[in-house]
């Protein structure tokens, strides 16, 4: 196996690209549909208010009767009365008179205070890394075809075009309203009770840990399976009684984007409940106690999830002499959110066990814990602090760990333009630094010639200040 001189640089770019994963949840196309402000569902987007979370859970539909609150002109593809004439006529639907598209871009600038820090070394001493200020552009599409079906898609341009989401959401299929919904297509598995981007400082609420990328040589470690990513499959989810929710999903796992992975069966499930505050489905809400602070509530939610990922790797394309091998990752986790007025604390932890982390390594157990404390001073100003801890333990190998402490502030320059400033402090013991450390949950390097080992790399440093800029329109 050979590695070029540019491998570290490519790894840095990979980690930066991962760190800049799409901040999408709801989109301006929905704002246009209802002729409403982004602030109806968001504080500093993509973080959702309780109402925004309910809108997301309802399959991107308002509580009550969705069509009652649609203000954008719709073109009927049939009439309600056509339901009486079915199957002689098609079941009615409608499409928006205007194409339901939104556009946006996002990226970050990084200030590296020390040339000798691992981030400084990785950036070749560059103090201001600006080339990633707008590395991604997005086209989002979101529309409902009737009161039960939503279409939702996201196309991301970052060098090449990538379909990040393409889903059809069938809502209210059986039983009481919101009890049984079906999502089919490409998108995030709902392993948390809240939106996958439910963080003021990070891209994703759940930190991800690309275990196989760390324990496999670089060429085999590219495109690892992680807990939070876009996968193709289907999910049944729902809210029961307004307070309990669940999700059950099946997807194809890591699709063969790198030419290494073979689609397999992946399964997951989640259950949770919420007490206090707005119901999970937003039905029957009388609004926030303080009408001027619609994001605020006194509530507590908790959820548990499990995930089994099967990966098959065919290394023949990149390494002669290796045969196809499989890896199963079993994940179990817990999460909780407590809100008291405008203060919110998110906590979570999960274990991710791989039985074949690489072509040579056997079992590796990873643990991830995180917490994010935030306070909405104003809907446009949210200071927060986020802590993430990662631990890895191969059977018979050294335990290694990594801790990120990230204080920061999220600003809305305008309701659809945001700036997030994050200070990255990091402590690591044994994680490889070949790929460089740029801050953020996805910034793991890959071992190139030296496997991760306790004591091999001990770092404790203030690494970077990240300035994330994004807009959507």
């Amino acid at each position: 196996m050979t590695f070029s001189k540019t491998t570290p640089l490519r790894l840095v770019l990979l980690t930066v690209a991962l760190a800049l994963a799409t901040p999408a949840s709801a989109i301006p196309a929905f704002a246009r549909k209802y002729t409403t402000s982004c602030l109806t569902c968001h504080t500093v987007y993509p973080k959702l208010t309780p109402f925004g979370e309910a809108f997301r859970r309802n399959g991107y539909m308002f509580p009550g009767v969705d069509s009652d609150v649609i203000k954008a002109e719709q073109i009927p593809m049939g009439q309600e009365a056509n339901k009486k004439t079915f199957p002689e006529t098609a079941w009615p639907s409608s499409i928006p008179a205007s194409v339901p598209l939104s556009v946006g871009a996002n990226g970050k600038a990084v200030f590296t205070p020390s040339k000798t820090s691992s981030a400084g070394v990785a950036s070749n001493g560059t103090k201001f890394t600006l080339q990633d200020l707008t590395p991604e552009a997005h086209i989002w599409a979101g529309a409902s075809v009737d009161d039960n079906i939503t279409l939702w898609a996201e196309l991301t341009f970052s060098g090449a075009a990538d379909v990040e989401h393409a889903q059809i959401l069938f809502n209210n299929l059986l039983g009481p309203k919101h009890a049984v919904n079906l999502i089919v297509g490409h998108g995030f598995p709902n392993v948390t009770q809240y939106g996958p981007h439910s963080s003021y400082l990070g891209d994703a609420m759940l930190p991800t840990m690309p275990v196989t990328a760390i324990y496999r040589p670089a060429d085999l470690g590219a495109d690892p399976w992680t807990l939070v990513d876009n996968y193709t499959g289907m999910e049944v989810n729902g809210v029961i009684g307004g307070r309990f929710d669940y999700a059950l999903g099946l997807n194809a796992g890591k699709t063969p984007g790198s030419g290494l992975s073979v689609p397999t069966d992946n399964f997951y499930g989640r259950i949770g409940f919420k007490v206090g505050g707005m119901r999970l489905d937003g039905e029957g809400s009388s609004g926030a106690a303080d009408a001027t602070r619609p994001w605020a509530e006194d509530a507590f939610g908790v959820y548990a999830f499990g995930y089994q990922s099967h990966s098959r790797v065919d290394p023949s394309a990149v390494a002669a002499g290796l045969t196809t091998f499989g890896d199963t990752a079993n994940v179990i986790g817990l999460g909780a959110r407590g809100t008291y007025g405008s203060a919110e604390l998110n906590l979570g932890a999960y274990s991710q066990k791989h039985n074949h982390a690489s072509d040579t390594e056997g079992k590796v157990t990873g643990t991830v814990t995180f917490g994010e404390l935030s306070y909405v001073v104003y809907p446009w100003l949210v200071p927060a602090v986020r802590v993430e801890h990662f631990g890895l333990k191969p059977d018979g190998g050294d335990s290694i760990s990594n801790t990120l402490i990230q204080p920061g502030v999220a600003f809305l320059i305008r309701p659809n333009v945001k700036l997030v400033t994050v200070f990255n402090y990091e402590r690591t013991n044994g994680f490889p630094t070949t790929g460089g450390w740029m801050g953020g949950a996805s910034d793991f390097g890959q071992h190139v010639s030296t496997a991760p080992a306790s004591g091999a790399t001990k770092l404790s440093e203030f690494e970077t200040v990240g300035f994330f800029l994004a807009w959507a329109n």
Partner: protein
């Protein structure tokens, strides 16, 4: 001579005015406003009385198809009335309704018209099988005392016999409870209504 003629004409005018006044005074007027939540369904609203039947001569009303739309969007008629459906478009249209007894007037080309006498009280969705986006409503009132609200929700029902009657509302999606109203000859009574889910 001219003075006599002038006086005579004034007398005739006075008698005529008095006659009209008596006729108007035979009945009263109900006026008011409907509020709809959500407001976007307001124009699909008919206010009508459930009580006074009266002897009514059936009428013929017109619903046109023009520029790929039914005109008017809501037509209120009295049970027994006939609606003449017209086609002033350059394309073939159809008129059918799956409601109540079910109606299908078949296909008819430009300048062709077909009539139908609605046999039941209530609303009939008017559809065109060739252009599923087209929609109108024919509301068949049990009494001749009915009105389609205007864009602001206002309505006026004239020549209502004196008495106490139930004022009802039909809306394509929303509902409201009936209201009782007492009509006095020659007077106007105001009734405001609210329709919602």
């Amino acid at each position: 001579m001219s003075t006599i003629a002038t006086r005579l004409s004034r007398l005739l005018l006075l008698v005529a005015s008095a006659t009209v006044g008596v006729a108007a005074a035979d009945g009263g007027t109900i006026t008011g406003k409907v509020e709809a939540t959500p407001a976007k369904y307001l124009e699909e609203t008919v206010v009508y009385l459930k009580g006074p039947k009266g002897a009514v001569k059936p009428e013929v009303k017109v619903m046109d198809q023009r520029a790929m739309a039914f005109i008017p969007h809501v037509l209120a008629i009295t049970l027994g009335d006939t609606v003449k459906f017209q086609n002033h478009d350059g394309v073939v249209h159809n008129v059918y309704s799956p409601d109540n007894e079910g109606v299908n007037l078949g296909s008819f080309k430009q300048e062709e018209e077909r009539s139908y006498t609605f046999g039941q009280e209530g609303s009939y969705s008017q559809l065109c099988s060739m252009h599923p986006e087209m929609l109108a409503y024919v509301f068949v009132s049990p009494t001749p005392y009915k009105a389609v609200v205007d864009k602001k929700g206002s309505f006026t029902i004239s020549n209502v016999p004196p008495g106490t009657w139930q004022v009802a509302v039909w809306n394509s999606r929303l509902k409201a409870a009936d209201k009782s109203v007492t009509v006095v000859a020659g007077q106007t009574v105001t009734v405001n209504l609210a329709v919602k889910r």
